[in-house]
Symmetry: C2
DNA sequence: CAAACTCATTGACATATTTATATCTGTCTA
DNA sequence: TAGACAGATATAAATATGTCAATGAGTTTG
Protein backbone atom coordinates (compact mmCIF):
# COMPACT_ATOMS: atom_id res chain seq x y z
CA UNK A 1 0.00 0.00 0.00
CA UNK A 2 0.97 3.59 -0.48
CA UNK A 3 3.59 4.57 2.08
CA UNK A 4 2.24 8.06 2.63
CA UNK A 5 -1.23 6.67 3.22
CA UNK A 6 0.19 4.40 5.94
CA UNK A 7 1.85 7.35 7.63
CA UNK A 8 -1.29 9.45 7.49
CA UNK A 9 -3.36 6.55 8.78
CA UNK A 10 -1.09 6.41 11.81
CA UNK A 11 -2.03 10.02 12.56
CA UNK A 12 -5.71 9.72 11.68
CA UNK A 13 -6.98 8.47 15.01
CA UNK A 14 -8.20 10.48 18.02
CA UNK A 15 -6.39 8.29 20.53
CA UNK A 16 -3.08 8.56 18.72
CA UNK A 17 -3.50 12.31 18.32
CA UNK A 18 -4.00 12.50 22.09
CA UNK A 19 -0.81 10.53 22.57
CA UNK A 20 1.09 12.95 20.34
CA UNK A 21 -0.40 15.96 22.11
CA UNK A 22 0.77 14.58 25.41
CA UNK A 23 4.26 13.88 24.10
CA UNK A 24 4.38 17.45 22.85
CA UNK A 25 3.85 18.82 26.35
CA UNK A 26 4.23 16.03 28.92
CA UNK A 27 3.07 16.81 32.44
CA UNK A 28 4.81 14.99 35.24
CA UNK A 29 3.58 11.42 35.55
CA UNK A 30 4.47 8.52 37.82
CA UNK A 31 7.16 7.00 35.63
CA UNK A 32 8.33 10.01 33.66
CA UNK A 33 12.05 10.62 33.19
CA UNK A 34 14.23 12.78 31.01
CA UNK A 35 14.22 9.82 28.61
CA UNK A 36 10.60 10.56 27.73
CA UNK A 37 7.18 9.35 28.80
CA UNK A 38 6.78 5.83 30.09
CA UNK A 39 4.38 3.48 28.33
CA UNK A 40 2.47 2.68 31.52
CA UNK A 41 1.54 6.35 31.98
CA UNK A 42 -0.56 6.36 28.85
CA UNK A 43 -2.92 3.78 30.30
CA UNK A 44 -4.17 6.17 32.95
CA UNK A 45 -3.97 9.22 30.69
CA UNK A 46 -6.02 7.60 27.94
CA UNK A 47 -8.15 5.28 30.03
CA UNK A 48 -7.28 2.35 27.81
CA UNK A 49 -5.91 -1.11 28.47
CA UNK A 50 -2.20 -1.88 28.32
CA UNK A 51 -2.39 -3.92 25.09
CA UNK A 52 -4.40 -1.18 23.41
CA UNK A 53 -1.79 1.41 24.32
CA UNK A 54 0.92 -0.94 23.11
CA UNK A 55 -0.90 -1.30 19.79
CA UNK A 56 -1.19 2.45 19.24
CA UNK A 57 2.43 3.08 20.21
CA UNK A 58 3.53 0.43 17.76
CA UNK A 59 1.73 2.15 14.90
CA UNK A 60 3.17 5.55 15.82
CA UNK A 61 6.70 4.13 16.07
CA UNK A 62 6.38 2.18 12.81
CA UNK A 63 5.21 5.32 11.03
CA UNK A 64 8.23 7.14 12.46
CA UNK A 65 6.38 9.83 14.41
CA UNK A 66 7.50 8.53 17.80
CA UNK A 67 10.76 7.05 19.05
CA UNK A 68 10.88 4.26 21.61
CA UNK A 69 13.76 3.54 23.97
CA UNK A 70 13.84 0.49 26.16
CA UNK A 71 15.40 0.93 29.59
CA UNK A 72 15.24 -2.25 31.59
CA UNK A 73 11.59 -3.14 32.03
CA UNK A 74 10.36 0.23 30.87
CA UNK A 75 9.92 1.79 27.44
CA UNK A 76 10.17 5.55 27.08
CA UNK A 77 8.67 7.43 24.18
CA UNK A 78 9.27 10.84 22.65
CA UNK A 79 8.32 12.72 19.50
CA UNK A 80 10.38 12.40 16.34
CA UNK A 81 9.99 15.95 15.10
CA UNK A 82 11.87 15.30 11.89
CA UNK A 83 9.11 12.96 10.74
CA UNK A 84 6.56 15.72 11.09
CA UNK A 85 8.82 18.09 9.20
CA UNK A 86 9.07 15.57 6.38
CA UNK A 87 5.31 15.20 6.27
CA UNK A 88 4.90 18.97 6.14
CA UNK A 89 7.18 19.00 3.16
CA UNK A 90 5.11 16.38 1.36
CA UNK A 91 1.98 18.41 2.04
CA UNK A 92 3.65 21.57 0.78
CA UNK A 93 3.17 20.28 -2.77
CA UNK A 94 -0.56 20.69 -2.23
CA UNK A 95 -0.46 23.82 -0.10
CA UNK A 96 -0.16 27.40 -1.15
CA UNK A 97 2.57 28.07 1.41
CA UNK A 98 5.95 26.36 1.17
CA UNK A 99 7.74 24.93 4.18
CA UNK A 100 10.50 27.10 5.51
CA UNK A 101 13.87 25.55 4.80
CA UNK A 102 16.65 25.66 7.32
CA UNK A 103 20.00 27.14 6.54
CA UNK B 1 -14.90 12.55 16.92
CA UNK B 2 -11.79 14.63 16.76
CA UNK B 3 -12.00 17.02 13.83
CA UNK B 4 -8.34 16.76 12.91
CA UNK B 5 -8.55 12.97 12.90
CA UNK B 6 -11.43 13.18 10.41
CA UNK B 7 -9.37 15.42 8.13
CA UNK B 8 -6.36 13.15 8.30
CA UNK B 9 -8.54 10.12 7.70
CA UNK B 10 -9.73 11.73 4.49
CA UNK B 11 -6.12 11.89 3.33
CA UNK B 12 -5.08 8.47 4.61
CA UNK B 13 -6.17 6.37 1.65
CA UNK B 14 -4.21 5.44 -1.49
CA UNK B 15 -7.14 6.08 -3.81
CA UNK B 16 -7.80 9.51 -2.41
CA UNK B 17 -4.11 10.39 -2.54
CA UNK B 18 -4.16 9.43 -6.21
CA UNK B 19 -7.12 11.72 -6.73
CA UNK B 20 -5.25 14.59 -5.09
CA UNK B 21 -2.12 13.89 -7.13
CA UNK B 22 -4.16 14.05 -10.29
CA UNK B 23 -5.84 17.29 -9.27
CA UNK B 24 -2.39 18.73 -8.58
CA UNK B 25 -1.32 18.15 -12.16
CA UNK B 26 -4.34 17.25 -14.31
CA UNK B 27 -3.61 15.89 -17.77
CA UNK B 28 -6.21 16.52 -20.43
CA UNK B 29 -9.17 14.18 -20.09
CA UNK B 30 -12.41 13.74 -21.97
CA UNK B 31 -14.52 16.10 -19.87
CA UNK B 32 -11.86 18.45 -18.51
CA UNK B 33 -12.51 22.19 -18.51
CA UNK B 34 -10.96 25.23 -16.91
CA UNK B 35 -13.46 24.66 -14.10
CA UNK B 36 -11.48 21.63 -12.97
CA UNK B 37 -11.57 17.89 -13.47
CA UNK B 38 -14.87 16.18 -14.21
CA UNK B 39 -16.06 13.44 -11.87
CA UNK B 40 -16.51 10.95 -14.69
CA UNK B 41 -12.83 11.16 -15.61
CA UNK B 42 -11.79 9.66 -12.30
CA UNK B 43 -13.58 6.42 -13.08
CA UNK B 44 -11.21 5.62 -15.92
CA UNK B 45 -8.18 7.11 -14.19
CA UNK B 46 -8.72 5.09 -11.03
CA UNK B 47 -10.40 2.04 -12.52
CA UNK B 48 -13.19 2.26 -9.97
CA UNK B 49 -16.95 2.35 -10.24
CA UNK B 50 -18.86 5.61 -10.37
CA UNK B 51 -20.37 5.21 -6.86
CA UNK B 52 -16.95 4.50 -5.40
CA UNK B 53 -15.52 7.63 -6.98
CA UNK B 54 -18.49 9.60 -5.71
CA UNK B 55 -17.87 8.27 -2.21
CA UNK B 56 -14.21 9.29 -2.19
CA UNK B 57 -14.91 12.73 -3.63
CA UNK B 58 -17.50 13.30 -0.95
CA UNK B 59 -14.98 12.58 1.81
CA UNK B 60 -12.39 14.87 0.24
CA UNK B 61 -14.91 17.68 -0.17
CA UNK B 62 -16.28 17.26 3.36
CA UNK B 63 -12.76 17.42 4.76
CA UNK B 64 -12.20 20.60 2.77
CA UNK B 65 -9.29 19.44 0.64
CA UNK B 66 -11.25 19.56 -2.60
CA UNK B 67 -13.86 21.98 -3.96
CA UNK B 68 -16.79 20.80 -6.07
CA UNK B 69 -18.69 22.91 -8.59
CA UNK B 70 -21.79 21.67 -10.30
CA UNK B 71 -22.28 22.76 -13.91
CA UNK B 72 -25.41 21.26 -15.38
CA UNK B 73 -25.04 17.51 -15.33
CA UNK B 74 -21.33 17.62 -14.53
CA UNK B 75 -19.38 18.22 -11.35
CA UNK B 76 -15.93 19.73 -11.56
CA UNK B 77 -13.36 19.36 -8.82
CA UNK B 78 -10.22 21.23 -7.91
CA UNK B 79 -7.81 21.41 -4.99
CA UNK B 80 -8.43 23.71 -2.07
CA UNK B 81 -4.85 24.64 -1.34
CA UNK B 82 -5.75 26.69 1.71
CA UNK B 83 -6.88 23.52 3.49
CA UNK B 84 -3.47 21.95 3.02
CA UNK B 85 -1.81 25.11 4.28
CA UNK B 86 -3.97 24.96 7.39
CA UNK B 87 -3.04 21.35 7.95
CA UNK B 88 0.63 22.17 7.58
CA UNK B 89 0.21 24.78 10.25
CA UNK B 90 -1.35 22.27 12.63
CA UNK B 91 1.53 19.87 12.00
CA UNK B 92 4.06 22.62 12.60
CA UNK B 93 3.37 22.28 16.32
CA UNK B 94 4.95 18.83 16.12
CA UNK B 95 7.62 19.60 13.54
CA UNK B 96 10.99 21.17 14.01
CA UNK B 97 10.43 23.55 11.12
CA UNK B 98 7.75 26.24 11.30
CA UNK B 99 5.49 27.03 8.36
CA UNK B 100 6.49 30.13 6.42
CA UNK B 101 4.00 32.90 6.97
CA UNK B 102 2.98 35.16 4.16
CA UNK B 103 3.60 38.90 4.39
C1' DC C 1 -42.79 14.91 -22.28
C1' DA C 2 -39.69 10.90 -22.60
C1' DA C 3 -35.29 9.13 -22.98
C1' DA C 4 -30.52 9.63 -22.01
C1' DC C 5 -27.10 11.18 -19.13
C1' DT C 6 -24.25 12.52 -14.78
C1' DC C 7 -23.78 12.08 -10.20
C1' DA C 8 -25.67 10.78 -5.39
C1' DT C 9 -27.61 7.43 -2.30
C1' DT C 10 -28.85 2.89 -0.56
C1' DG C 11 -27.94 -1.80 0.62
C1' DA C 12 -24.89 -5.60 0.85
C1' DC C 13 -20.56 -7.65 1.45
C1' DA C 14 -15.46 -8.16 2.35
C1' DT C 15 -11.75 -6.31 4.67
C1' DA C 16 -9.54 -3.31 8.14
C1' DT C 17 -9.35 -1.20 12.56
C1' DT C 18 -10.04 -0.62 17.47
C1' DT C 19 -10.41 -2.69 21.72
C1' DA C 20 -10.11 -6.11 25.48
C1' DT C 21 -8.85 -10.75 27.79
C1' DA C 22 -5.53 -14.11 28.11
C1' DT C 23 -0.95 -15.33 27.59
C1' DC C 24 4.05 -14.88 26.56
C1' DT C 25 8.77 -12.69 26.91
C1' DG C 26 12.22 -10.29 29.05
C1' DT C 27 13.96 -7.87 33.30
C1' DC C 28 14.56 -6.89 37.99
C1' DT C 29 14.95 -8.10 42.87
C1' DA C 30 14.27 -10.56 47.25
C1' DT D 1 16.54 -18.87 41.26
C1' DA D 2 11.40 -17.66 42.04
C1' DG D 3 8.21 -14.28 41.93
C1' DA D 4 6.80 -9.83 40.48
C1' DC D 5 6.64 -6.49 37.05
C1' DA D 6 6.53 -3.93 32.20
C1' DG D 7 5.45 -4.50 27.89
C1' DA D 8 4.43 -7.47 23.48
C1' DT D 9 1.71 -10.80 21.10
C1' DA D 10 -2.34 -13.87 20.00
C1' DT D 11 -7.12 -14.20 19.69
C1' DA D 12 -11.66 -12.61 19.39
C1' DA D 13 -15.57 -9.26 19.17
C1' DA D 14 -17.52 -4.81 17.71
C1' DT D 15 -17.26 -1.18 14.68
C1' DA D 16 -15.61 1.30 10.58
C1' DT D 17 -14.23 1.49 5.82
C1' DG D 18 -13.93 0.45 0.78
C1' DT D 19 -16.27 -1.42 -2.95
C1' DC D 20 -20.00 -2.46 -6.25
C1' DA D 21 -24.87 -3.32 -8.11
C1' DA D 22 -29.17 -1.23 -8.04
C1' DT D 23 -31.73 2.68 -7.78
C1' DG D 24 -32.88 7.70 -7.15
C1' DA D 25 -32.48 12.78 -8.26
C1' DG D 26 -31.63 16.44 -11.16
C1' DT D 27 -30.37 18.09 -16.05
C1' DT D 28 -30.30 18.11 -20.88
C1' DT D 29 -32.10 17.14 -25.34
C1' DG D 30 -34.73 14.76 -28.97
Amino acid sequence: MNDLATELKALADPVRLSILEFLLDPVQTCCASDEGVCACDFETILGLSQPTVSHHMKLLVQAGFVRARKRGRWVYYDLNREAFGALQKVLSRFASLPVLERG
